[in-house]
């Protein structure tokens, strides 16, 4: 679903398409996106300048929450890269009863509200509550589909002749996987992992119940922004938010690069 289709850049189209008539449409959709999406985000950037931006962003608590968020998101992206590829592999290449049910379940984290995801983990793993493991678990839950759904279609479309050729030339299965299959899957794995990373950096709902929000321990950046706003410091909240916004934009750019690379 959306994981694979996010950020698919438009292909060059023939020049004869009916363009001029859509200029009104272009105006309307730009206005709509501008009003709903860009105007509020611009307000965050402008407001962050009110606070002494660097003082807020380099305060100990802000740095600690941002560093923790980044590290745990990298871990989440890495685990997803491995487990997501494995899940996609099993779904495409393995045959076992219940495979379609497993395929259906992969999308559950996209359909389930994040607050419910957090609550389910609290209910089943009460011992990890208020630890870094809890945050990791919650983030893995909500990001599970990204890599699977990015890799699956690529794996399905992969030409098996090459693998058979490699095998007939004496390559062991491991070598075939490492030298033939993995390079073909790499762009998909990376873009899935990048999406998972972006989601993990900004995630709020699933983390808020389970993390305990302990400063210097389990406090993630998004919850810190929320706390700042709650304690009536919108400018400070905006400063941290700008850092998060910067990371989001960076990830989107990286995604475009990966996709351009994948098409070559």
């Amino acid at each position: 679903m959306s994981a694979a289709t996010v950020a698919a850049p438009a292909k060059a189209r023939p020049a004869r398409t009916r363009g001029p008539g859509l200029s009104l449409g272009f105006g309307v959709s730009t206005l709509w996106l501008g009003l709903i999406v860009l105007l509020p985000l611009a307000a965050v950037v402008v407001r962050s300048l009110d606070a002494s931006f660097w003082t807020v962003v380099t305060s100990r608590q802000a740095v600690s929450s941002l560093v923790f968020t980044l590290w745990i998101s990298i871990a989440v992206a890495a685990i997803n890269a491995v487990m997501g590829t494995l899940l996609a592999w099993v779904l495409v290449r393995d045959r076992f009863p219940g495979r379609r049910l497993v395929d259906l379940l992969i999308d559950l984290p996209f359909a389930l509200p994040t607050i419910v995801a957090g609550l389910t983990l609290v209910a089943v793993y009460p011992d990890v509550r208020f630890t870094k493991w809890a945050v990791l678990l919650a983030l893995l839950f909500v990001t599970l589909p990204f890599v699977v759904r990015a890799v699956q279609p690529v794996l399905l479309a992969l030409d098996r002749d090459v693998e058979e050729a490699a095998a007939s030339l004496g390559a062991r299965p491991r070598t075939t996987f490492r030298r033939v299959i993995l390079p073909a899957l790499m762009p998909a794995i990376l873009s899935g992992a990048a999406l998972a990373f972006a989601r993990a950096v900004g995630e709020f709902g699933s983390v808020v119940l389970i993390s305990g929000n302990i400063p210097f321990e389990t406090q993630v950046a998004s919850v810190y922004v929320f706390k700042r706003l709650e304690s009536d410091d919108p400018a400070g909240a905006a400063a941290i938010a700008v850092v998060l916004l910067g990371i989001s934009v960076l990830v989107l750019l990286v995604l475009r690069l990966i996709q351009t690379w994948g098409r070559r």
Binding site: R18, L112, P113, V116, V225, L229, P234
Partner: protein, 257 residues
């Protein structure tokens, strides 16, 4: 080797996903049907349910209309700005829900840019709708755009050549071709609208019986140590999620057929 992979994959899904969700549904139903019914029909729960439905009923049609329009512009227009539009469209997927909520507070709040508007936006229905539209804005366009690219515009051109006006071409040629993509986008958008928590929790004000949505109710009950109540509301949301999943699979199968 094959069995090791299979067991690892299934084990991972079970521990992370299936067991937790199943346990919550089980715990929700444990007190017995009468208790569960009472818990999801308290005045606060009914009001939260209705608010969630109303917000979804406003946000999803808006997303559908503007989503199709945006997809058409990205795929069919020649204007230079369409690439930029394409990039902006990804932002809601990448930006944290809390940042989205904060952004709306800064625009519509007391001393915000549009704080002078005569209607109360923040901490009431309009802000909840704005937050919901923001987070779910890309789904329809992202499902419809690839379909538009795939079908090309030959049929549309032919219709135009034969004298069909733009609206006729859209209704008779384009819309039937994109219907399953549109339907999938609508389902995804609905799921996100029903389940949004972060952005809504910042802008809603969380007034019980007034601006409390279902997901906010789950949080509030949990924090008030009403675990059974939180589980019951969660189970209700989980049931909706599973229904969405089934619908989506059904639609993807139809689209492929």
């Amino acid at each position: 080797m094959r069995h090791v992979l299979r067991l690892t994959a299934i084990g991972y899904l079970l521990t992370l996903l299936v067991v937790p969700v199943a346990v919550v549904v089980y715990r929700a139903l444990e007190p017995g049907p009468a208790e569960v019914w009472a818990s999801v029909t308290t005045p606060a729960a009914i009001s939260a349910f209705w608010l969630t439905l109303i917000v979804t009923a406003i946000a999803v049609p808006l997303n559908a209309i503007f989503g199709v329009l945006t997809a058409l512009v990205i795929e069919r227009s020649r204007s230079r700005g369409r690439r930029l539009l394409d990039v902006i469209l990804d932002l809601p997927f990448a930006v944290s829900p809390v940042v989205i909520g904060l952004a709306l507070v800064l625009v519509y709040g007391r001393d915000g840019w549009l704080g002078w508007l005569p209607v109360q936006v923040l901490f009431s229905l309009p802000a909840i709708v704005l937050a919901t539209v923001f987070v779910s804005i890309p789904f329809v366009a992202r499902e419809v755009a690839p379909v538009l690219r795939e079908i090309g515009d030959d049929a549309e051109q032919a219709a135009a050549t034969l004298g069909a006006n733009r609206w006729q071409t859209f209704r008779r040629i384009t819309l039937p071709a994109i219907r399953w993509g549109l339907a999938t986008g609508v389902v995804l958008s609905t799921a996100r609208a029903l389940g949004e928590f972060g952005a809504v929790s910042v802008v809603s004000g969380k007034v019980a019986g007034d601006t409390m949505t279902l997901t906010l109710l789950v949080e509030q009950r949990f924090q008030n140590f009403d675990l059974a109540g939180a589980y019951a509301a969660s189970a209700l949301l989980a049931v909706i999620a599973v229904a969405v999943l089934l619908l989506m699979t059904l639609m993807q199968r139809r689209a492929e057929a």
